[in-house]
Symmetry: C2
Subunit: 368 residues, 2 copies
């Protein structure tokens, strides 16, 4: 079986065809084809160009099929086949990809997905609202106090700022214990089921441990940044039986993949499909019209990549953030619909002196 990757390639037709044929080699055997003696390798290992069609001014769309064996059943190597060496060449962009049935078993997608987050939080039909613990520099008690007030105010999720890792200001273990406890206390008082998502981003020697510690301390979800820890860390957390919590993927450091429209990986493929295939239950990305440069079209693409039918994988929940303020919530509800997590950080702190009241306002604005 083969899986297919769709690339957008700049050039006229003959240039695009030459580049597409190069990609077939570069992303598989990376070896001059005329020196390959084995018919089996030529037929069954090298990528195959299935189609090439014009998709814009000096741009062509190429579908290339790769043998599933080349991906070795590993996300790191799947990423390598998808775009490893071709990322080094300008004018090539990954637009979409498919999985074979065998790869779908190995990359089973979100464990919880949108429906699972609804079940855990008890939020039936409206958008979810999420607050962020920051600024960095507060100690674990201060963060726990903040979390308590957010949870009392009725937010559905509270995430660590993605920059909180294991700083001396609020070390990981202490922070996770204190914040989890504060959120549990608030939940007991409100009867709600707010989930706390600590940031477990770390190297290979720590990331799974942090996920397990988070689970043991009573956290309700996790934040991880695949750009910092590697996409395989998301999958490893998703698959670890001692973790078993919803995963929010954060886009730190992966911006360079989408910052140029002619290279890298399309928003839909990166923040949507790939994040979903890695097993994230929600994908955080910069909302359009905030302090980042994502467009409505980019964000629409992410929503599609999160929710489109994809071999039975559960939908991943889009989680736009980055400068969302109260006045924008009604418009964003119209744009994103109900299967969305709205992240508000600074906007929630800046909406008034009473944080609980701000959370209640936020909740009312999404119909809660």
């Amino acid at each position: 079986m083969r899986f297919t990757v769709t690339y957008r390639i700049l050039g006229n037709r003959s240039e695009a065809r030459a580049k597409a044929n190069d990609i077939c080699i570069e992303q598989s055997i990376e070896f001059p084809l005329h020196l390959v003696r084995s018919r089996r390798i030529k037929d069954r290992v090298v990528g195959k160009l299935l189609s090439l069609h014009k998709c814009g001014t000096r741009a062509f769309s190429a579908d290339i099929a790769y043998a599933e064996e080349t991906a070795a059943g590993e996300l790191s190597q799947f990423l390598n086949v998808l775009f490893g060496n071709s990322s080094l060449k300008p004018g090539i962009r990954v637009e979409a990809f498919s999985l074979t049935p065998r790869l779908r078993r190995i990359f089973p997608g979100p464990r919880f997905g949108v429906a699972g987050i609804r079940r855990l939080t008890g939020v039936k039909r409206r958008p979810f609202i999420c607050a962020a613990l920051k600024p960095m520099g507060l100690d674990a008690r201060e963060l726990a106090d903040l979390a308590y007030r957010f949870a009392r105010g009725g937010v559905d999720l509270i995430k660590d700022d993605h920059g909180l890792s294991d700083q001396v200001y609020a070390p990981f273990d202490e922070r996770v214990a204190r914040v989890s406890e504060a959120v549990a206390k608030a939940n007991a008082e409100t009867g709600l089921a707010c989930l706390y998502a600590p940031n477990v981003t770390a190297g290979p020697d720590h990331v799974l441990d942090r996920g397990r510690i988070a689970r043991r301390r009573g956290a309700g979800a996790l934040v991880v940044s695949p750009g910092l820890a590697g996409f395989p860390s998301v999958l490893a957390l998703r698959q670890d039986p001692l973790v078993g919590l919803p995963i929010l993927s954060h886009p730190a450091l992966i911006g360079s993949f989408t910052v140029n429209a002619d290279s890298g990986i399309a928003h839909r493929a990166l923040y949507g499909l790939l994040t979903r295939v890695a097993g994230a239950d929600a994908t955080i990305f910069p909302n359009y019209g905030g302090r980042f440069s994502f467009t409505r079209h980019d964000c629409q693409g992410i929503v599609e990549g999160c929710s489109e039918s994809f071999g039975g994988l559960k939908p991943c929940c889009p989680a736009p953030g980055g400068g969302i303020t109260m006045d924008r919530v009604p418009e964003l509800c119209d744009f994103y619909g109900r299967d969305v997590i709205f992240l508000m950080g600074g906007g929630l702190a800046g909406a008034g002196d009473d944080l609980e009241e701000n959370c209640q306002t936020f909740r009312r604005l999404v119909g809660g």
Copy 2:
């Protein structure tokens, strides 16, 4: 103590200043400054703009200093401070950075460096030559046979193609065992000390195990792709006492950071400094004038980032590859000098029917 990051920012002076001030916040507390009540956080956690000067047409260079505590002594979080959220914004490029003494102890750089690779291979003064095991699709016996002939021909290093992971064609354990044995046999016959570098790129649940297995099986070095496995995987391999082998970093999937000259991370900072700080002993990158688009200037930058004085870290060895052929070697010796590893893959196979003879030719061309 603070470490400094130099960003190149597009815009006129006032735009660049505004963007630089935003970066100070975005890369530290990511929270509206006017809402921060703590003087300590404002003074000691937020990034500080040290200088801003014109460095091109509508381009400014900004030095921003961050408190070392924000990096939490972790490479994942150091990367986040360096460029996490700012990677999502166009027109910002990381040009360089420094480390504090404490961070240099945590990120001690290459264990072996150029001098260490000379000691292990016995190559005194000339450039190193490296062959690659490919194409994917050969079985472990065929790869071992290839490695035997490379080693008999006198190459200094033999690396797995970065696409060889744990495919059914040549599973990791079997490949590493057979190839290590074949190289040891050739070394016993030639009296040379060729190093075999298997590719250990994998997720957090496997990457350290593969490094340890490689060591136990007799491999002499490792290949890892930080774009696939995450930069912290390089550091974890470098620090693991049961691994202890030279590390060759491969650029798969990190091309998107350098493909646009106005965004991402400069070649010198990415393939040079950052790869060196992560602990790689050699950094593989596409040579200028091959099938990739790196320029002489880009490659010169990488050499500088590898070798410039950097707080006592050992130099990392530049390892250009990607379409190098015999006829280019003399020119490349002039350009790179002697502290370089030349990678030849297809070029070595294509230089004639006798692979051993081709290796001998390659070796003579670098003065060996």
